[in-house]
């Protein structure tokens, strides 16, 4: 039973703001690719795609979500970069019994106290970042930490997750400084980090903030003087704008890298062509493809577009595509899949444009994500 006889997918993302490169238009393209790959039709009807810009604002996101559900017969909203927007949409989706698929947002509350029966968190989260990067850095000898944290929910969340990992591995936290978001001048905070004497400066921020912090650390001779930076959430687009010169050697955790195998390369090449060339997808782009495709498969399997039933079906079906080779969805809405610890190549190692990462380690999904037992999601039966 398809309520209105058609399936309509809404991609709600940041099309004009800070995250429009790592998500943005590329996620719309990715979603369209998923629809095309699925065959473009479901139950004899064309699958429709609409998209909008939430400008990273909770109020705009919630307004658009409401309008889509009320007047546009949208069945599912995908992508949702930025936690605030994702939560806003989650509230509306919950109320309307619709499915929401989060790819770009990072924070763990989405699968904890903000979880819902119809809400999914797909690509990565701060927990996984901490497990990957935090753990690797401590193990390679970075025992003492100082955090530069973006002063908003996401930054706090990322810092907290990383601190947990650092301490669990026997490291110590010497201090932290919250910087305004967004921020362009990190020199002062870097100086404080330097004064702390910590071996590792953990960057609990994202996007332009991370980029600026890294560049300026180099400028002020902080890296040369022996301290190391750990970017706790770095996207390939960030590495691209930093340039290998600045980014080389950095450890980072990612859910996807375009140059991993033939499948990823093939998909990325297609994506890149559709984007007009010259760019490679971030994990958020790939994740959006994966989640939309999985949604469509599940809808077909459930033979309905009723949110809760589709959501049940989604939990049942395994995920196997170029993005998640062995993914599965848990009760709290977390899509668990393998993550990768990568190191940024030296300029001399890079063979061409966008040849940026060496994959150092594959982190099995169950290790990367918060154990279900620790979840505060009410849907998790204990």
């Amino acid at each position: 039973q398809y309520s209105d006889g058609k399936v309509k997918i809404g991609v709600l993302t940041d099309l004009s703001g800070t995250y429009s490169d790592l998500a943005g238009k590329g996620t719309i393209v990715a979603a369209q690719m998923a629809i095309d790959d699925f065959g473009g039709k479901l139950n004899g009807q064309t699958i429709e795609l609409i998209s909008a810009d939430h400008q990273n604002k909770a109020d705009i996101a919630s307004g658009i979500a409401r309008k889509w559900y009320d007047t546009e017969q949208v069945d599912v909203i995908a992508e949702l970069v930025t936690t605030a927007a994702a939560i806003a949409v989650r509230e509306v989706s919950k109320e309307k019994g619709k499915v929401d698929l989060v790819s770009g947002a990072a924070s763990t509350p989405l699968t904890n106290d903000k979880c819902s029966a119809t809400g999914f968190h797909w690509t990565y989260d701060t927990y996984a970042m901490a497990v990957g990067t935090g753990d690797a850095v401590v193990k390679s000898g970075g025992k003492t930490w100082f955090f530069l944290t973006a002063d908003y929910a996401f930054g706090h969340n990322l810092q907290a997750q990383t601190e947990r990992v650092v301490k669990a591995n026997g490291g110590t936290v010497k201090g932290a400084v919250k910087h305004p978001f967004p921020n362009s001048d990190f020199s002062s905070f870097l100086l404080q980090a330097q004064a702390s004497g910590a071996q590792i400066i953990g960057l609990a921020n994202a996007g332009a903030d991370t980029i600026n912090a890294i560049k300026q650390a180099k400028e002020f001779g902080i890296t040369q003087a022996g301290q190391s930076l750990a970017g706790l959430l770095v996207f390939i687009t960030d590495v691209h704008s930093l340039g290998l010169e600045n980014a080389q050697g950095m450890m980072l955790t990612t859910g996807f890298y375009w140059d991993m195998d033939d499948q990823t390369r093939a998909w990325s090449k297609r994506w890149s062509e559709k984007m007009g060339g010259g760019k490679m997808p971030s994990m958020v782009h790939a994740g959006t493809y994966s989640q939309v495709l999985h949604y469509l498969k599940s809808t077909a399997a459930a033979k309905t577009d009723e949110g809760i039933k589709v959501a049940d079906e989604m939990r049942k079906l395994p995920i196997a595509d170029f993005f998640a080779k062995n993914g599965k969805i848990r009760a709290d809405g977390r899509m668990v899949h393998d993550m990768y610890l990568a190191q940024v190549k030296k300029p001399s190692e890079s063979k061409g444009p966008w040849d940026y990462y060496k994959i150092v380690r594959t982190i099995p999904g169950d290790e990367a994500y918060q154990p279900l037992a620790e979840s505060t999601c009410p849907l998790v039966k204990k």
Binding site: S20, D185, S188, A208, N212, S241
Partner: protein, 294 residues
């Protein structure tokens, strides 16, 4: 040795950094004050033109192979030209009206300029490297000072003081100030006020463009770099006293320092402290620190 629990070394470092930020505030607020002073227009697009300055440098490097030094000349010229076109085609229709219309128009322009650059170049920022001549740094003992940042402070000081001298100490300045109050009458004295206004606007935005070029190697060249800054720069101009040239320069540096200190003691408030200062100053000295009359 420590002061309030902060090692003096670190404190000096922070003060110096504050001064560097102040250098940008001073250059931007100077142009803004100049434009406000003569055109009575609160140039909301100042930030966008600053950004444009940085972008012109970046484009010149990537498409024409022009380096930093030529860019320091070319970018202000290009931006001044854009400014002059804006002034001649749009702003000049608004002088007889309330400030508010100028504010709105330039706000609209800022949106357009910023939007176009976003559309063309995304928002994550483009790298622009420090010129070879200024790479490296000095170890001052209490901190490592990148040579480039030192250069920024020097360049900004020279520019600001030069402008200040030209305006306060020459006849030109008297024309500018009188033209602010009663342009019709000044023109009736035989001075080509429209031309003077156009050139002033061009000069004001050229200052912003220079600041943009100076900023490019420090921050990313990004379409957002202007809008992040503009509100703070407004605050600087107001604290200094609207239209006061010296006021905007001194206040620019001073607030850079205040902000630097705040980053040490209460970093969360760093972006707000300027507004606190503004409230206090305006309540005690209604016309701003260097403003005349109320």
């Amino acid at each position: 040795m420590t002061i309030l629990g902060i090692p003096t070394q670190a404190l000096f470092g922070q003060l110096l950094l504050g001064l560097i930020n102040g250098a940008f505030y001073a250059m931007l607020s100077l142009g803004l004050a100049l434009i406000f002073g003569l055109l009575n227009i609160i140039n909301f697009s100042h930030g966008a033109l600053y950004m444009m300055g940085a972008f012109v440098a970046w484009l010149a490097l990537n498409f024409l192979g022009l380096g930093y030094w030529p860019a320091l000349i070319v970018a202000p010229l290009v931006v001044a030209l854009v400014g002059i076109i804006i002034e001649r085609t749009m702003l000049c229709r608004l002088y007889k009206l309330d400030h508010l219309y100028g504010l709105l128009l330039t706000f609209g322009l800022a949106l357009i300029i910023e939007g176009l650059f976003r559309e063309g170049y995304g928002v994550s920022g483009q790298p622009y490297s420090v010129p070879k001549e200024l790479a490296g740094g000095w170890n001052l003992g209490f901190m490592f000072l990148p040579i480039y940042r030192g250069w920024v402070v020097v360049a900004s000081l020279v520019l600001c003081l030069g402008t200040w001298y030209a305006i306060e100490k020459t006849k030109l300045g008297a024309y500018l100030r009188a033209g602010t109050e009663n342009p019709t009458l000044v023109q009736a004295f035989g001075i080509n006020v429209p031309l003077m206004i156009t050139l002033t606007y061009g000069f004001g935005v050229a200052l912003a463009a220079i600041a943009g070029v100076l900023a490019a190697p420090i921050y990313q060249v990004s379409p957002k770099m202007g809008s992040d800054l503009i509100i703070v720069v407004f605050a600087v101009v107001v604290i200094g006293g609207m239209g006061s040239i010296l006021g905007s320069i001194v206040t620019g540096y001073m607030l850079g320092l205040v902000e630097g200190l705040t980053k040490v003691f209460y970093p969360e408030a760093a972006s707000t402290v300027i507004f606190m200062v503004m409230v206090v100053v305006l309540l005690i000295k209604p016309a701003g620190l260097f403003g005349k009359g109320a």
